[in-house]
């Protein structure tokens, strides 16, 4: 009896592992659901935000490309602008323990305060589960999910794939553009771009 249960569990696990690569995040398809813990110990479920736009921002505070958008205040500006309009903004940290960008909940909360960042929450994903679910490749790597749960944007934050803060002023911000279009009921003209930055520091 017990053995059978173990076998069932093992099979379920194997099926999950086998399915995992199929869960890539494709624009126009349902965004993969998740349940993950944030830096305040609260569980964040994608399903809790049905009816709202959700932004996912892959983050690593030590990465020069992430620094570009935080030291300049560009990311915080976007977070404030869009959360004020009812958009849910989830930063995600998939750095494994011992790698660049890994933080404890306390360290992350201190960072948020210090940088004056304004995400709805920061998900800590040291095991990389959420990162693999979305196939997040870089920091930053941005995703937008519409109120019906469909992925409507997957890609870079803007069109200047550099770590120079000086490039921000002349950049076209893809996330801003996509949110403007989507929140006014228009289709997103550029729904998939090449994300740029540091590789996400996964454990494997």
């Amino acid at each position: 009896m017990k053995k059978a249960r173990h076998l069932v569990l093992l099979c379920a696990l194997l099926v999950l592992v086998w399915l995992a690569p199929a869960f890539a995040a494709r624009v126009g398809e349902p965004a993969p659901g998740f349940s993950a813990v944030d830096s305040n110990g609260k569980t964040q479920r994608l399903s809790d935000y049905k009816g709202k736009f959700v932004v996912l921002e892959w983050h690593n505070q030590g990465c020069p490309y992430t620094k570009k958008h935080y030291a300049s205040g560009n990311m915080q500006r976007l977070q404030k602008e869009w959360t004020a309009k009812g958009v849910v903004w989830l930063s995600v940290i998939s750095s494994a323990p011992g790698t660049q960008g890994f933080v404890t909940p306390t360290q992350e909360n201190e960072y948020i305060k210090m940088m004056n960042a304004a995400p709805t929450a920061v998900i800590l994903d040291p095991g990389g589960t959420l990162g693999h679910l979305y196939a997040a490749k870089t920091t930053p790597h941005m995703f937008i999910i519409d109120p019906s749960g469909t992925l409507i944007y997957n890609g870079a934050i803007d069109d200047h794939a550099t770590s120079d803060q000086g490039d921000i002023a002349s950049s076209r911000n893809y996330v801003s553009t996509a949110l403007q279009e989507a929140t006014s009921g228009k289709p997103v003209t550029e729904p998939a771009t090449r994300p740029y930055g540091c590789s996400v520091k996964y454990k494997d």
Partner: protein
């Protein structure tokens, strides 16, 4: 008695100038040594020479190809040339694939890489660095990574004498240039036929080469077309091969042309540019 202090002051002043000049012309990048070199030891008006930015990287560190893959950034070069000189594009040696896990693959270089840039001289050369000498300056920017990435930059310069007849080669540099040239992708042999079929989830790149191709690796020139980390499945045939390349999740529109570099087992690299046919399969 009075002359001694003034001479000392002069010496100190001159020493400071020399040190300042060294500080200006030498850069100390992190985890790499970077230099600007020329294949030739002089330049003739109206001729072309090859300059190269030479990266010597510390073990484990890498820089990137023109398409860096899933992360990273290719080096960039901004030239300050003497009047009338022009440069061509960077000649990128074939890259290596660097795969850190199942989700991410990058394209770049370890150890030692030379980025060759052809330079053409005008019919009449105006010296800009002393009599019959021209100076080339390049502002190089690059990203160097191991577990972490560091953006870095350096201003590199070198001077060449102007000569009236065909220049000789700098033997040490010539060796490095020749070794690098062997790594540059060549045009595809004329006898080869290449075709690409776009299927639901992948591209099938077929090459009819008139001989068996047992192993090959494709490096896409354009991002967002191929899923970089996905294994490339090769079906060999007596006349060539078909390479199955998984499409990128970011590919939302059909593409007309697949461009890239094909590297065979013997290290030969070929430039591939093939129109893409849509397939119902």
């Amino acid at each position: 008695m009075f002359r001694f202090p003034s001479r000392l002051v002069l010496h100190v002043f001159l020493a400071t100038c020399v040190l300042a000049d060294i500080a200006l012309s030498q850069s100390s990048p992190q985890h790499a040594h970077v230099e600007l070199i020329a294949r030739q030891n002089s330049i003739v008006p109206g001729s072309s020479i090859a300059l190269g930015v030479h990266f010597m990287l510390e073990p484990g560190w890498h820089i990137y190809w023109i398409n860096s893959g899933d992360s990273g950034q290719p080096p960039s070069l901004k030239w300050q040339l003497p009047p009338g000189f022009t440069t061509g594009e960077i000649q990128w040696p074939r890259p290596e694939r660097m795969q850190s896990n199942a989700l991410l693959a990058d394209y770049g270089y370890h150890d030692d890489v030379l980025l060759i840039v052809p330079v053409s001289a005008p019919q009449s050369i105006a010296s800009n660095a002393g009599p019959s000498t021209v100076r080339f300056i390049v502002e190089a920017k690059w990203l160097i990574c191991r577990e972490v990435c560091l953006p870095d930059h350096a201003q590199l310069q070198m001077a060449l004498p102007v000569a009236s007849k065909a220049p000789g080669e700098n033997p040490l540099a010539a060796k490095l240039f020749a070794r690098t040239e062997a790594l540059l992708p060549k045009p595809m042999p004329r006898s080869w036929k290449v075709s690409v079929r776009s299927r639901k989830d992948d591209f099938a790149l077929t090459i009819a080469a008139g001989k068996r191709i047992a192993q090959a690796q494709f490096f896409p020139l354009d991002p967002e077309q191929i899923d970089n980390p996905a294994p490339q499945k090769l079906q060999t045939s007596p006349t060539g091969m078909t390479l199955v390349l998984k499409k990128s999740d970011l590919l939302v529109k059909p593409i007309a042309v697949l461009r890239g570099v094909l590297v065979l087992t013997d290290g030969e690299a070929y430039r591939i540019e093939a129109p893409v046919r849509q397939s119902l399969q």
